[in-house]
Symmetry: C3
Subunit: 336 residues, 3 copies
């Protein structure tokens, strides 16, 4: 497998990824590719729709016929049992049929052959591609070339975007904290390589979050990160002070091997979330993580499993949020 | 993995593969193993049934309860995500449950152990085996040994047969051209090793096609191919003249490595379908290909993607035709 | 893959595996981990429930909506297409959604990371884990740590237990022989390493079987095996005399490589079930095997395929018994 850096750049990210591609002529959501370009109203509608699914998931019969007869294809160019499972469950609980197709990136290095694969699946009258790919812009590329009857849901493309992750994070924050205007939210770790962080920052901005902070060593921050509307902290103790929510990012171990990072131990010393550091935040500060957490690297187990952690709630809400997005894109009515 | 040539010859093909095996005592279709032995009336009934599924597939709810409670087992001894997907979708849209079982040929080299696998699956009261195998005669072998409650659908066996492919090709031709009696159809490429070509020739003959041509170098034609009722052309320009339909075969690259064929480039020079050559056919000549096409080897991209190409329609109709066959074999009623 | 001997001992078996873990506060079955601890009444209720599913499986529509909206996760740490298939079919015929997750043991050697995987799946509101693991006690370990809304079904853990196999064996015997009190049952082969034998012995004891015999060389018997309530025979001819049921165990070829056993040929000479030896048993003695049988090693093909063999019936009843257990654990009502 080639690394993300070697991966074919289908489109250079993130400049030429038009947010308008996400809407149909009537202005309704057709694809979900990135948080950029979504309005505050639309994000609120997604979160409201997810509310009803969230309560349904805890019931005995966790299934509605909203997408009966629809076919969802999990098109994963990058293996991820965990992410694939959440989309598969969301689709099945909407009564859709699910096809899981794993395609090694090497088999589709040539854009042409990827397009042939898409054309063939489209011809089978499938309704949605859930796409994960190691190349930034892959979901946009597919959305740009897809047939009119097919929608694309970005399940993570390179360093670019992971919009359903950001939406489930917003859902989790809203459930616990209500209005975003009064909140201080800190994102800690490898901001530079994180599609999760990028999508979270966009979502927090759109929802008019009081203050957004990023906490990282300078080497793990994008150039001109301030232009995204965030405050930068290189020191975790200063950055955590008085925040309402702290979101830890997963440290990709490959970065360390590439020399971009010190050792795991040293990273934990400098940026790991410990009980002592968490005490600097507000008393009821939420602890979040997109998972799977590297315990003892970016987060101490006592914090990950502690009373302020909502990490597993994020997983639960992830199903509901994905059901909401799928039903809004594919379904006529969205009242479950 | 052993090559097709090394594969255990379960049955020597095609002599001892009795077409009568396909029918039950009342004369109804029980297995679909080959086109040979099907009547014109039966093929027409299959195509008529597929018509109703074809219109259904474009609808929002693409699902009927015809095979609810039935279990279809995709028994693939030869990997093929693409073919497996079409059968899986067809079965799911009929509301059947689907089990995907990939068996490496090496694990079942001994006929005995293959039979044990079959016996076990039968004992679980499954209803249909969709079988793909690299050995000619494998589907017949299984049909001969299968329990009375189980049907076998041949999804491609060695060089022998691929009946659903031929049926979907007939469906596509009929949709565009109507009556077969007035048509000239040319099949181009590696006829010798092609189960697709063999099944197409049988189907075209049964449907009383006006003229069937095969176009290939002598080294890629079976001995006595004329006895199948086809006209032989070694020159593609002569062969394409005034045809209504041209079917390109996929060139198996393994053949080239085995020295049976010149280089890809040379093959394209001699037998590749270009716009210039297509112009020799009738003005509205259909361009067909069972997929996946080797662009620039047997077909030029401008032709594959051009206005006369129905390659993607073939994929679409493949679902409908497979639904028709499955429902006729397993279902009581076939009116969707 | 590490061998069972090297596998992490999550819990030392079988001492500290409390049977009480299997019941909820109201005394109803919550997990099925082992046969130990089940009452005669409960086993009888399971077998009675399986009766109704057994007749249903032979019908045209083999599906009931009992577990509609429930999610069953096949969590297989040890590959087994065969076993996984029976649980998948059972769950689908109850209308549950099924997720198949294969986890290599190496990826979860650390208990912590296994727990993180469980926590994540639980957070997705799944309802049941069907667990197969090479370590004895794995299913108990998971049951002990699982969320209140999730049930665990042991599909085989190390050398410890395989309770659904024992239940389907009891179902098969009861169908043919009725009351257990009058029966002599012999289990032949590698008792020492067999989770199947261990579960069978417990079930036969609970059902008050007249006499239980084990037939094996001393090297393949657990120490103090008599304390389990069985009669020991080292000679197969003596052991088979006048039995009503003979259960052959599958010989694990790995044992031979480890030097614990003589050659396959020699084992067959000493303990293989032949027609001549079977003639020593009662005239209508049932021949059983959990499958897949090593023909010519522990059993002669003429016996495996002979008139007294119920090996394939065991497979059939396996679906019904698993449906019974799943519906009793997860479903409100169990009347199909």
């Amino acid at each position: 497998m080639s690394s993300a850096a070697d991966a074919p750049r289908l489109v250079s990210a993130p400049g030429p990824l038009p947010a308008s591609l996400q809407f149909n002529e009537e202005g309704r959501l057709r694809h979900l590719l990135s948080i950029e370009g979504l309005s505050r109203e639309l994000i609120t509608e997604i979160l409201d729709t997810a509310e009803s699914f969230a309560s349904m998931n805890a019931q005995s019969v966790k299934k509605v016929p909203l997408l009966r007869g629809k076919t969802v294809v999990n098109l994963f160019f990058e293996a991820s049992t965990r992410t694939r499972t959440t989309f598969e469950l969301a689709a099945k609980r909407l009564s859709a049929d699910v096809l899981n197709i794993n395609i090694s990136a090497s088999a589709t290095v040539k854009g042409e052959s990827l397009l042939d694969t898409l054309r063939n699946l489209e011809a089978m009258y499938v309704d949605m591609f859930v796409v994960r790919h190691e190349a930034s812009g892959a979901a946009h590329f597919i959305a740009r070339h897809v047939a009119p009857h097919v929608s694309v849901l970005n399940a993570g493309d390179g360093r670019h975007a992971h919009p359903t992750q950001a939406l489930l994070d917003m859902f989790t924050i809203r459930r616990h904290k209500g209005d975003f205007g009064a909140l201080r939210v800190a994102i800690v770790g490898d901001i530079l390589h994180s599609r999760v962080a990028r999508s979270q920052i966009h979502a927090l901005n759109i929802l008019n979050t009081g203050e957004i902070r990023v906490i990282a060593p300078q080497s793990l921050l994008p150039a001109h990160v301030e232009s995204l509307g965030v405050h930068v902290y290189n020191d975790i103790r200063a950055g955590l002070r008085d925040v309402d929510v702290v979101i830890m990012l997963r440290l990709q171990r490959e970065r360390m091997e590439a020399g971009l990072l010190p050792s795991e131990h040293e990273f934990f010393q400098l940026y790991g979330l410990t009980q002592e550091r968490l005490a600097l935040a507000k008393p009821k500060c939420l602890v979040m993580h997109p998972g799977p957490a590297n315990r003892g690297v970016e987060i101490d187990s006592r914090v990950a499993d502690g009373p302020q952690s909502v990490i597993l709630e994020q997983v639960t809400y992830g199903i509901a949020v994905r059901m909401a997005v799928m039903s809004m894109i594919m379904g006529g009515s969205v009242n479950p």
